[in-house]
């Protein structure tokens, strides 16, 4: 009984020390509060895959009533800014100098071939930015379809597609980017900051000083985890508030599940930070490793921006080893779809197992250092 009390007292003292250390170092406060705010604002507003206006130079070599109608359809579309140019050479120059995003060419045989079947509208783009080219191609379908519907009604059918995008009816890319952003923020706070702080203690030798005290490795771990968990929670709350009030992303799942998911993922991130810093004991190496192991994968290999389904099978297999993948899937589902048992419990279970494994490994590694 007294043993337990002493243990609790030691943990409290250490946690207290750690908390003060955070509060007195302006850079830790910066990362706990300023960091999430900057990330949310910058990326919440900055990262968007949404529709923007594309400017095109139009060359109408046919100059007929039909071609004029087609140009009119593009003018009417809110997605296109149309500039008429007399020659293809001029249009090419404009594209090459990045004055316009692309060019539309209506060839001189347009009317003739239209009724023979097989008229062409050419979109000329600079393929260096393949994404922009793709966006233009899909935007062009709108005016082309509305023009054909008026011209003959035929291309509007007979089969028509009524599409419905569930969970995101207005096709707003913020809906999937903001939940992913929460994962990014917690990754940075949990893994990056913890790794830096503990590696610094190793570098400066203050950990050795702690190890001559009666403290046990488990207590040490708890005292390190609790304050950073608190810092991560602040970041999480800021994110949730921003998602709700700035970006108006609907939360269709329950707040309770969202908090649970965030807490479990935060433990995983803390576990990585603790383990890496315990193993390498150098701030430079720890920071680079954490960057490589957590931040970059969370950005590129988690479904945050790039969909996992677009990746080759080998890369998809690798992503199964990365916690961010499960966290992003959880957040996107909880925010947009709701408490879908099959998705939520599976991902949550895997994350919990990862957290347990990481913390256990850290404990083991710390014990070895002590002897």
């Amino acid at each position: 009984m007294t043993g337990w009390l002493a243990k609790l007292r030691r943990i409290r003292a250490l946690t207290d020390k750690e908390t003060r250390q955070i509060l007195r170092d302006p850079s830790s406060v910066a990362i706990g509060i300023v960091f999430p705010i900057i990330m949310i604002l910058l990326f919440g507003y900055g990262l968007s895959l949404d529709v923007t206006r594309v400017n095109v130079a139009v060359v109408d070599q046919d100059a007929s009533a039909d071609s004029a109608g087609l140009v009119g359809a593009f003018r009417l579309s809110t997605y296109f800014g149309v500039t008429m140019v007399p020659s293809l050479a001029q249009a090419t120059t404009l594209v090459m100098n990045r004055k316009v995003d692309g060019a539309l060419l209506i060839p001189s045989d347009f009317t003739r071939r239209l009724h023979a079947g097989g008229a062409e509208l050419q979109i000329l783009v600079n393929g260096t930015d393949s994404n922009q080219a793709r966006i233009m191609q899909s935007y062009a379908q709108g005016p082309v379809a509305s023009w054909s519907a008026r011209a003959g009604g035929a291309s509007a059918g007979p089969v028509t597609v009524v599409d419905r995008m569930w969970f995101n009816e207005t096709n707003n890319s913020r809906y999937f980017i903001v939940p992913g952003l929460i994962v990014m923020v917690m990754t940075v706070i949990g893994a990056f900051l913890t790794a830096m702080v503990i590696a610094r203690e190793w570098e400066r030798g203050t950990l050795e000083a702690l190890f001559v005290t009666p403290m046990l490795p488990g207590e040490f771990l708890i005292s390190k985890t609790v304050p950073y968990f608190g810092l991560g929670t602040i970041g999480f709350v800021l994110c949730v508030l921003a998602a709700r009030f700035l970006f108006h992303v609907p939360l269709r799942g329950s707040l309770l599940m969202l908090c649970l998911a965030a807490a479990v993922y935060l433990l995983v991130a803390l576990g990585i930070g603790l383990l890496v810093s315990t193993l390498v004991k150098s701030q430079f190496l720890a920071s680079q490793l954490v960057l490589t192991l957590t931040f970059l994968p969370a950005m590129m290999l988690s479904g945050f921006i790039y969909d996992l389904r677009s990746m080759p099978a080998v890369v998809q297999w690798i992503t199964y080893a990365l916690p961010a993948r499960y966290a992003v899937s959880l957040m996107q589902t909880l925010y947009l779809a709701g408490d879908i048992g099959g998705v939520v419990w599976l991902n949550l279970g895997i994350l919990a197992a990862m957290a347990a494994a990481l913390l256990a490994a850290t404990r083991l590694a710390t014990r070895k250092q002590l002897s």
């Binding site: 783009v125 995008m165 702080v197 790039y306």
Partner: protein, 372 residues
């Protein structure tokens, strides 16, 4: 003059030793960029090559089967299930088992035969609205083909218009062709800026910076001694990625290496400048790391690498004028794919030079101020 040069050379040598002597730090400098280049080269793509879907065919007619056969015939769509009940749609979509559910209503064929519009419903999992949008676009294309054939066979050929896309420099619009050259700048920026920011902060934290200050070195020489090795390491990283791009991903390099390396040199000078500036402000390694990270992250994410710059709010577009990566991405892609020369790249070279000079001068000023 000569003495000064000799001192700088000695310092450069020392700096190289400090970074490259430790096998672990050699490893951390060259292996991650290599792995990241390979992984992200494959991962960072908006091209959807396969989409799982399920069908709720309530018509079960020859027309509906013909339409579905077209979907299955396009190498992209993979049918996972034939659903029986409307309620199944929710289960399959919610659990993420399929990206799309295609529902063909009962009187589909009757409408078609009667020459009336025959709607089909396509439900997409919009949790990633970008992917869902792409997949819906593909469905539309398949249906358009079906319609064209149907009209041709049933004698109602209206005016037909094909939209043909012709892309200069990247004929197949392979997103890898623009992504992988972009990784050269992105990955080296991360490495170089962090390494530079840490190098001074580490010496300061370990107290060796004070030792350096009592030597005959002038602040400018210390700066040069710190800048050159990091710049060289950055060029080494860039070359590694360039080799992967050419020999692994086989992205055709049509430009001039001289232009590319001049551009990369300027870009890395800007990166080193930013790094030195950060380390002149930071008091500890931790602070240096955090400040560097606080800059690298928005530089990387808001450079046009992941999402188009034109979709960003105007104010962010203005702020990103100071982002060296913005120019480096444009430069590497244009040299790589377009064979752009110095004349066309003035709009990239100039800002990079200005950023480099300003940050280096700023760092030098901060260092001198600290000394006095």
């Amino acid at each position: 003059m000569l003495a000064s040069l000799l001192r700088i050379v000695a310092l450069i040598r020392k700096e190289f030793l400090a970074v490259l002597k430790d096998p672990r730090s050699r490893f951390i400098i060259f292996l991650p960029p290599l792995l990241q280049c390979l992984l992200f080269g494959y991962a960072a793509s908006f091209d959807l090559n396969s989409a799982f879907y399920a069908v709720l065919d309530q018509d079960r007619s020859s027309a509906s089967i013909a339409l579905l056969a077209r979907l299955d015939g396009s190498s992209i769509f993979h049918r996972q299930a034939d659903l029986r009940r409307i309620e199944d749609i929710t289960t399959w979509i919610d659990n993420g088992r399929v990206l799309l559910v295609i529902q063909i209503p009962q009187d589909f064929q009757r409408h078609l035969m009667a020459g009336e519009p025959a709607p089909i419903q396509v439900i997409a999992d919009g949790r990633n609205s970008n992917t869902a949008g792409t997949a819906l676009g593909y469905v539309q294309t398949v249906v358009d083909d079906f319609n064209a054939d149907w009209r041709a066979h049933h004698g109602q050929p209206g005016p037909t218009l094909r939209v043909v896309i012709r892309a200069w420099y990247n004929p197949n619009l392979d997103s890898r062709w623009s992504m992988i050259p972009s990784l050269i700048g992105t990955l080296t920026l991360m490495g170089t800026l962090m390494l530079t920011a840490m190098s001074v902060a580490r010496e300061r934290e370990q107290g060796t910076f004070d030792q350096l200050l009592v030597t005959p070195f002038r602040p400018f020489e210390i700066m040069a001694g710190k800048a050159v090795p990091n710049l060289a390491i950055g060029l080494g990283q860039a070359t590694t990625i360039l080799l992967v791009a050419q020999f692994w991903f086989r992205i055709p390099f049509v430009g001039s290496f001289i232009v590319l390396y001049c551009g990369l040199g300027l870009f890395l000078m800007a990166a080193v400048g930013v790094g030195l500036f950060v380390s002149s402000i930071a008091k500890t390694m931790q602070q240096a790391m955090l400040y560097a990270f606080l800059l690298v992250m928005p530089f990387a994410l808001l450079s046009g690498l992941a999402t188009p710059v034109s979709s960003m709010p105007d104010i962010l577009q203005t702020v990103m004028v100071i982002n060296p990566l913005l120019y480096a991405l444009d430069l590497t892609k244009r040299v790589f794919l377009e064979d752009a020369g110095f004349a066309q790249l003035g709009s990239d070279f100039l800002p990079l030079g200005v950023i480099g000079l300003c940050t280096l001068a700023g760092a030098a000023w901060m260092f001198t101020r600290r000394l006095s």
